[in-house]
Each structure stands twice: as C-alpha cells, then as structure tokens.
C-alpha cells in the first residue's frame, strides 16, 4: 500500500518540491527585475518631460525645431494654402488616415506641432520638400504632406503629434 501511494499521483514531498521551487523562482524574479528596470528612463530624463514654448515669434510659412525629452520637435506656422491643401486630401488616399483637424488644436489650425523623427527609423525629415509640399526623409525616402501625414515611402505612420495644449494664445505646453 505504501509503495503504491509513493508511486501514484502527488504526495507531500512533491508539494514541498514545487512550493520551494516556486518561492525560489519568485525570489529570483524579484531580484532580477530591479537589475533590468534600472535600464528604464531615469528620474532626470523623465523630469524633462514637460516644456513650454512661445510660438508667437515664428512668422507664417516658417518652422522651428525645439527639443522635448531629447527629441527634436517641429513647430510650423502653416500658410493658408498649406492648410487648404491638407484638408483637400480624401482620407482614402492616406496610409494612416487622419484628418487635418485631428492633427492640430481647434482655433490654432495654423500651428502644426510634431515630433521630428520619421516614423520609419527616426531620421529627421527635411522641411518644405518632398512630393506633397511637406517633409521628405532623406534616409529611406518617406514623403509627408503639409499636415505631416505619411503619403509615400517605407514609414508606417504619420509624424507623431506629441501631447500638448495652448496655455495662452501663443504659449504651448508640450508633455
């Protein structure tokens, strides 16, 4: 009888083995996690997460590039023609469909704020160039239109609009 019990199904010793192993695995994971987590962005990097910028000084038809969280950000004062051109594009023509209105703040349609890294592999596209009167990335040939939407080339998505809001008429807070 005793031999049969030892051979059949689980007994107390099996339970202790599994329980000890499980506690050990959890302990090891708990030790390893901080060793990996230290690689994540640190407090000083995260502290740069929010900036303010006065867009008032940018004349119509010009752009500036500012830095937010170490990333370059385009702020463009668009002309009426550019806005019109962006709005005339049917959504069906877009690889990553988004209306022009969705990419700007209501009442501030002339301001286009976007992270300046190509959504393909992160190069900085060149402004006022490409086949769609927007941006052209020289690295792998992605064309963006005057709303920063991907139109042709290997990039999968539109240039990213960071979270931002207008604090006053000309002051924006990014992040």
């Amino acid at each position: 009888m005793a031999t049969q019990a030892e051979h059949s199904s689980t007994n107390r010793r099996d339970f202790l083995y599994v329980a000890t192993g499980a506690v050990g695995a959890v302990g090891a994971a708990a030790v390893v996690w901080p060793l990996i987590n230290q690689l994540n962005p640190d407090a000083s990097t995260l502290a740069l997460a929010s900036i303010e910028f006065d867009v008032g000084a940018i004349p119509e038809g010009q752009s500036v590039t500012i830095t937010w969280r170490g990333l370059p950000v385009f702020v463009r004062h668009r002309t009426a023609a550019e806005i019109e051109e962006a709005r005339a594009v049917p959504l069906a023509d877009l690889k990553d469909p988004q209306t022009d209105e969705e990419r700007v703040k209501e009442g501030h349609e002339q301001w286009l704020v976007m992270i300046a890294n190509c959504t393909h592999l992160g190069c900085i596209p060149v402004g006022e160039s490409g086949d769609f009167d927007g941006w052209f990335c020289p690295c792998h040939g992605s064309h963006y239109d005057s709303a920063g939407r991907i139109r042709r080339g290997p990039a999968p998505a539109n240039l990213v609009v960071p979270p931002y809001e207008f604090v006053s008429d000309t002051l924006i807070q990014i992040g």
Binding site: L39, N40, L71, L121
Partner: protein
C-alpha cells in the same frame, strides 16, 4: 579525439601537477598533438586569424578605455584626445577601428568557407550554430563600439537601429525606451553601450572556447569533406598547423597594417568627425560596411504583407536572414559535404557569394530607383538559396564520386 592520450608526464613535478590539474596534458593533447586532417588549405587558417583579431580588439580596447570618457559632453573630444595626445594613441585607436573591419573580413571568409565545404553538416551542427552566435554577438559589439566616438554617424546609426525595436507590436516603444534609457539616444545610452561593449568581447571569447571544444569532438572538416579514417590522414596540429596559421596571420597583417598606417579613416565615414547633433540628420546614413548586407535586407521590405506593415516586415526579414544561418544544417541534407564534389551546388554557391557582395553594395546606395528593385531581387535570392535551392539540390543533385580517403586524394593529386 582524446581517447588515445599522447602525454606522459616527464618528471615528478609534471606528474604531481597532472594528478591535480592536468593543464599540461590538455595543452599537449589539444594544442600540440591534436590530429588534424593533412589536406587543410589556407581557407582553414581564418579560425586562428579570428582568434588573433579578437585578441587585438580586446588588448587595444582595454587600453582605449583607459583614456576614453563615456559622457555625451566629452566622448567625442576624448577620442580626439586619444588620437592627438595619448602616447601612441593615434596607432592604438587606428588598430582598434581598422581591427573591427579586419575582424569582419576574416569572419565572413571563415563563414563562406564553412558554407562551401559543408562544415555545418552532421556531426558539426553545434560548431556552426555557436559560430553564428559569435557572429551575431560580434555584430552587436561592433555596433555598440561605433556609438562610442559620439559622432553624427554614431548617433544616427544608433537612432535608426534602436528604432528597429519600436517595430515590435504593442511593447515595441517600451522596449526601445528600456534599451536607450530615455526617449531618444542620449547619455544613458552611451554609458550602457560602453559597459556592454566592454563586456561582450569576453562573452564572445567564452563562446569561442565552446566553439573550439565542439570542434575538437569530431575534429576538423576538410576540403574533400571525407572524414578522417586512419592516423595517416592526419598530422599533428603543432608544428604543422601552428606554423601554417602563423604564416597566414603574418600575411593577413599586411593589409591590416597598410590601413592602420596609411588610411586609418578610409573605412569610416567623414560624418563621424562631426560631433553628434540630435537636431540634424546627415543627408545619407550608412552603417559600417560589414552591416550593409543585412541593412539592405531591412530596407528591401518597403511594402506591407497582410497585417504586417513594412517596418515590422523589414525587421522580420533581417532577423530571418540570421535564422536561415541557424537552421542551415537542416536545410542542406545532401550527404556530400564539400562543394568541390557537387556540380550544381557550386554554381548556386558562387551566385550566393556574388549576391552577398551585391547586398553589401546596395546597402551603401540611396534607397531609390533601380537600387530598391535590385535590393528586392538580391534579398529574394538570399532566402531562396536557403529555403529552396539547398533543400531541392539535396534531392536532385548527383554528386561526383568522392575519394575514399584524405590520403588517397592527397596522393592522387601528387601523381596527377
């Protein structure tokens, strides 16, 4: 091959040591008397050349680390400091930078030798797979090393490559931030890459140890691919192959030295002598030449496949190119190892070699016009070679008759 030990302790001290830690026995059996096929040609010297390359990189690298500062404000200047102020630094830095290129020259030759002579076939699959792991680790090490001078190509190369991680669905962006330690390449990135660039060569050295261990179980493959049958098929590793390897090393050092002394920067890129600037992308980003074939495969996928977008598709293709190498032993099931006796294989092999050079060339060209078409064709052949050509040839090809032994082939050649 250690079944017949050739070592007898000479005196009581050796005997005492041999009973406790048999290092002398180990060295005698594996570094001196190891039975090695007597028909190995010069393509077989690249293993030893690679050990030398790894040694050169480790020694010069440790020295450079004594003078280098891994901080975004100082890294660029500290490399110039090494080149201008440190005693002999100009040469030591050049040996390290040129050494990376020469390392890959030897590595690619060593791999193509294995591909031609079927050195990946049973019972040497583990040797081959360990070799592919060494290749992947060497690529990672070289890539991180290229970040350290903190020039424009360092920065933008790191940006482009780290964006590969963001192609992974859902968690990609988080993984990218974990790798970079920030939202973009910056000081945390430089610091950790320096740390890992110092660590990985020692990991590589350990895997090289396993690679050679695995090699010393079945012994070397050889140009006719027929296994060693008797002791007269082999010669002792020392002095026959130690001397041959040394001679090859000396010859290899001639172009190496030419680059170091006369053109230390010719393999680099002028943009890397501009300090990294996160606000300006160089007009034309190219990785180091030894990464170009895989870079071309990454760029070749510029179209969506079903639900996989072009960016993820490119990453899958590039990873797939390495996976092909890992599973190669099971794709080529032909019993004949050496390409010399495979009349059809030979043609596809050389086409594969030319195709690989073409992939390298295309990676340095802008992604437009005819280049994008050619990149797709060459990428397609890379995969067709592994997934179609090798499995099919294994079934339909009639190999030429094999020599019965290494000795017969060597003597036959002498009489011919």
């Amino acid at each position: 091959m250690s079944e017949h030990s050739t070592y007898t302790p000479g005196n009581s001290v050796e005997k005492w040591l041999d009973d406790r830690l048999p290092v002398v026995r180990f060295a005698k059996e594996h570094l001196m008397d190891f039975p090695t096929p007597k028909n190995l040609n010069y393509w077989w010297t690249f293993g030893a050349i690679l050990v030398m390359c790894l040694g050169i990189q480790i020694v010069t690298g440790i020295i450079l680390a004594m003078h280098y500062t891994p901080n975004v404000a100082m890294a660029f200047d500290s490399v110039e400091h090494i080149r201008r102020d440190v005693n002999g630094g100009r040469i030591i830095q050049a040996v390290h930078a040129v050494g990376a290129s020469m390392f890959f020259v030897a590595l690619y030759i060593h791999m193509f030798r294995g591909l031609y002579y079927g050195s990946y076939k049973a019972p040497r699959e583990i040797i081959w797979i360990l070799g592919v792991l060494i290749f992947i680790l060497t690529v990672a090490t070289a890539f991180m090393g290229y970040i350290l001078p903190w020039g424009q190509m360092s920065f933008w190369g790191a940006t482009v490559i780290s964006n590969i991680f963001s192609a992974i669905p859902v968690v990609g962006e988080n993984i990218k931030q974990l790798v970079l330690g920030g939202f973009a390449v910056g000081n945390p990135t430089l610091n950790r890459f320096f740390s890992l660039h110092y660590l990985l060569p020692f990991v590589i050295a350990a895997i090289v140890g396993l690679h050679i261990w695995a090699l010393h179980v079945p012994g070397n493959n050889n140009p006719i691919g027929v296994e060693v049958k008797e002791s007269r098929d082999t010669v002792a590793f020392h002095p026959y192959y130690t001397m041959k390897d040394l001679f090859a090393m000396v010859v290899f050092m001639i172009p190496f030295a030419w680059f170091v002394f006369f053109a230390p920067d010719i393999l680099g890129h002028p943009d890397n002598y501009i300090m990294a600037n996160s606000q300006v992308t160089p007009a034309h980003i190219v990785p180091e030449w030894y990464l170009l074939p895989f870079y071309t495969i990454l760029r070749a996928i510029d179209f969506n496949v079903l639900f996989i977008d072009s960016k993820l598709g490119g990453v899958i293709a590039m990873g797939g190119a390495l996976v092909m190498l890992l599973i190669l032993p099971w794709l080529d099931t032909s019993k004949v190892r050496s390409g010399t006796f495979r009349p059809m294989f030979k043609w596809f092999y050389w086409l594969f070699a030319i195709n690989f050079v073409a992939l390298t060339y295309l990676g340095a060209q802008p992604a437009e016009g005819i280049y994008t078409v050619l990149a797709k064709v060459c990428t397609a052949y890379y995969f067709i070679y592994f997934l179609v050509v090798l499995p099919v040839l294994s079934r339909i090809e009639t190999p030429k008759p094999l020599p019965t032994s290494i000795s017969e082939s060597v003597l036959g050649k002498a009489h011919a």
